[in-house]
């Protein structure tokens, strides 16, 4: 079976409002990628090439060496660098054996452009992050 299992996408909020056939189509674009425990999945400051969602296992997010969050199945990461073509904003490290499904820029961009619903979802999640970042700054 090619691509990611549809179940893996279904619980990802980003794809929540898609119907079955849309999900199936999108699932085909993904490729499985595994990371060993302790492996650096993505390195802060480096250029970004792929977007991942977690199917099983856990990872931590750290910025500037400080841990910020934990990631669990259903979470996704890596979209920011693919959107602004900048560098990775955080380091993500697998804390257990991690199974992800990933898209590179060449699949991700057309996917977002062609699918306004996904685009809207991304905007929502960005807005939340932005708000949280502003609130952090405001606090002493």
């Amino acid at each position: 079976m090619a691509g990611a299992p549809v179940e893996a996408l279904r619980c990802v909020p980003l794809f929540a409002d898609l119907n079955e056939s849309e999900l199936a189509q999108i699932a085909l674009l993904f490729k499985e990628r595994r990371f060993a425990r302790g492996e650096t999945v993505v390195k802060e400051g480096s250029g970004g090439a792929a977007f991942f969602l977690i199917d099983s296992g856990e990872a931590t997010v750290s910025v500037g060496g400080a841990e910020r969050a934990d990631l669990v199945p259903g979470d996704y990461f890596g979209e920011i660098a693919l959107i602004d073509e900048g560098t990775r904003s955080a380091t993500i490290t697998a804390t257990t054996e991690l199974v992800c499904y990933g898209l590179t820029f060449w699949e991700f961009r057309p996917l977002v452009l062609e699918n306004a619903v996904i685009g809207w979802k991304l905007l929502q999640s960005m807005a939340k992050k932005l708000r949280a970042a502003e609130e952090n700054q405001a606090q002493p």
Partner: protein, 546 residues
């Protein structure tokens, strides 16, 4: 660098069984045929002398010439002599027998050598007939040979007390050899060019206004020296006395192809002017430095420190004296004789330039001067050109199969081990060894990728540590793999313990254009995380700065 012209890819074959190491330090250029004929035997004799005197584990050293490049090899000591050598080593240390050698040097060898030098240089070779000149160069050559043996004979005494000092004090204080050698300052006036003749010269000129005028003039240096020599009174006497002492010394190197002081009047004049201008260099602080180092020596060893320092300083002048008063002078005398022969042969059109005669072998020189057959003018010119266009950089560093590693010093009887160690350290510190050694704050490795970069070191043992790297860091790790590529945009330089010039880290550093030093062996042990380092990818050095 490599000789492109004529496409002559000169082949280097080992001269025989065994292992040969290039000596680019003493012989950076190819030597003359004359030298290859006479040096090896004299060298072997002299080194065998010191090896026996000191009961060393080697029979002596040898020097072989391949395409004019000097290759050194070790002559092993005969197995059946080893027990008595061990015994001798003990006697040497117990009796401080190097002092005996120093006495021999001062009381007989050195004065006899100087007398012979003066006797030979008193002859004016240009005034001799061809037949007399042949006899004369034969005498000069015999003398030269004897002086080479003499130089080597005293080598061990020149280095062992110093090496012994460096070994012990290095162990006690951890200070590097370069710093400890500073404590020898003032122990060898000859190295600083001092001599009784120079003192007399400074005084005499200081009291003679006419001499000072000549010295200060803007004339051609050769003419100035002539004028000074021709002076009446104590100044003229002092100038001649000084020039007799140093004039025939080779300014650099050992072969008759090297110029002597009188051939470069500009250099000679400069050193006289400097000496006369005087001004004591800043007062030596060596006493203070000795006290400083002594304070770093554990109390129970301080008395031993004092004793070792005394021996080292006592023998230190032998290092330079044994050359300057032996073959460096004799070689200049031989050269002078050969140049005289060359002048007459060139005048007769037999050779192109007087100096080409230094490229003839000894028998060839005699033959030519006797009017018999010998190498053509073109042949000699070609040999001269060969020497000028080649250097030790073109030669392989070693020939033959490397020997198994030497025995661990700790398996030797204590006296022998101590002697061998002292010799090893001294040769490394005084003459520089070709094996890169680690100094206290500097590590050496392979220069994998050019450039120099300074930044904080970040020790990384694997992907788990990648998090700690920030932009501008110097990666310090055992080795790298593709997994490390993720870090590259952040790095200022790469330093690894293992790996060669063709390993991943080296290739990646070159392709990314950042400085890289690989194969340092101990980088991860000797560099602390966070310390500022300078990575010199041209020299293959990593220096800890803070």
């Amino acid at each position: 660098m490599t000789n492109d012209e004529a496409g002559t890819n000169v082949r280097f074959e080992p001269p025989g069984p065994g292992f040969y190491e290039l000596d680019p330090v003493h012989f950076p250029r190819p030597v003359t045929r004359y030298w290859t004929e006479m040096h090896p035997a004299a060298f072997a004799r002299g080194t065998a002398d010191f090896a026996t005197f000191y009961g060393m584990l080697i029979g002596g050293l040898g020097m072989s010439y391949v395409n004019g490049m000097a290759y050194k090899f070790v002559v092993p000591a005969p197995e059946d002599e080893i027990p008595q050598r061990f015994q001798r080593a003990e006697e040497v240390l117990a009796g401080k027998l190097w002092r005996e050698q120093l006495r021999e040097w001062d009381e007989s060898y050195k004065p006899a050598a100087i007398a012979k030098h003066r006797e030979l240089q008193a002859v004016d070779p240009d005034a001799l007939s061809d037949e007399e000149l042949v006899t004369y160069i034969t005498r000069c050559r015999e003398h030269h040979t004897a002086m080479i043996s003499q130089h080597m004979r005293f080598t061990a005494s020149a280095v062992i007390p110093t090496g012994d000092f460096l070994a012990h004090v290095g162990d006690w204080t951890g200070l590097p050899p370069a710093e400890l050698l500073g404590l020898m300052r003032g122990a060898s006036p000859v190295s600083a060019g001092a001599s009784q003749q120079l003192e007399a010269l400074i005084t005499a000129i200081g009291q003679d206004p006419a001499a000072q005028d000549i010295l200060a003039s803007e004339d051609d240096p050769g003419q100035i020296l002539e004028a000074l020599r021709a002076l009446e009174g104590p100044a003229g006497v002092a100038v001649n006395g000084y020039l007799d002492l140093v004039g025939n010394r080779l300014l650099d190197g050992f072969d008759i192809s090297e110029p002597s002081a009188l051939e470069l009047p500009g250099a000679l004049l400069r050193s006289i002017r400097t000496a006369v201008a005087g001004g004591e260099g800043e007062a030596s602080d060596v006493e203070a430095r000795i006290a400083d180092v002594r304070s770093k020596v554990p109390a129970e060893h301080q008395e031993e420190f004092d004793g070792l320092l005394v021996e080292a300083r006592l023998l230190y002048r032998l290092r330079d004296e044994r050359g300057v008063y032996s073959d460096i002078w004799a070689s200049g005398i031989m050269r002078r004789a050969v140049l005289a022969g060359g002048r007459r042969l060139a005048a007769a059109g037999r050779i192109h330039e007087p100096v080409h005669l230094v490229d003839a072998g000894f028998d060839e020189m005699c033959s030519l001067l006797s009017g018999s057959d010998g190498p053509s003018a073109d042949e000699l010119a070609a040999r001269s050109a060969f020497r000028a266009s080649h250097s030790a950089k073109d030669a392989p560093a070693t020939l033959g199969t490397p020997p198994p590693p030497p025995p661990d010093l700790s398996t030797l009887p204590p006296a022998e081990g101590r002697l061998m160690r002292a010799t090893g350290i001294a040769l490394g510190a005084l003459f520089g060894s070709s094996d890169a050694a680690h100094e206290e704050h500097m590590l050496r490795g392979l220069a994998a990728s050019r450039g120099v970069y300074e930044g904080p070191a970040r020790l990384v043992s694997g992907p788990a540590d990648f998090d700690r790297i920030v932009k501008g860091d110097v990666l310090v790790t055992v080795s790298t793999t593709e997994a490390f590529n993720i870090l590259l945009p952040l790095l200022g330089a790469i330093v690894t313990d293992s790996g060669g010039l063709l390993s991943h880290s080296a290739i990646v550093a070159r392709e990314y254009g950042i400085p890289g030093v690989v194969g340092t062996r101990e980088g991860t042990e000797r560099i602390a995380d966070g310390t500022r380092v300078r990575v010199d990818g041209d020299a293959g050095e990593v220096t800890v700065l803070a």
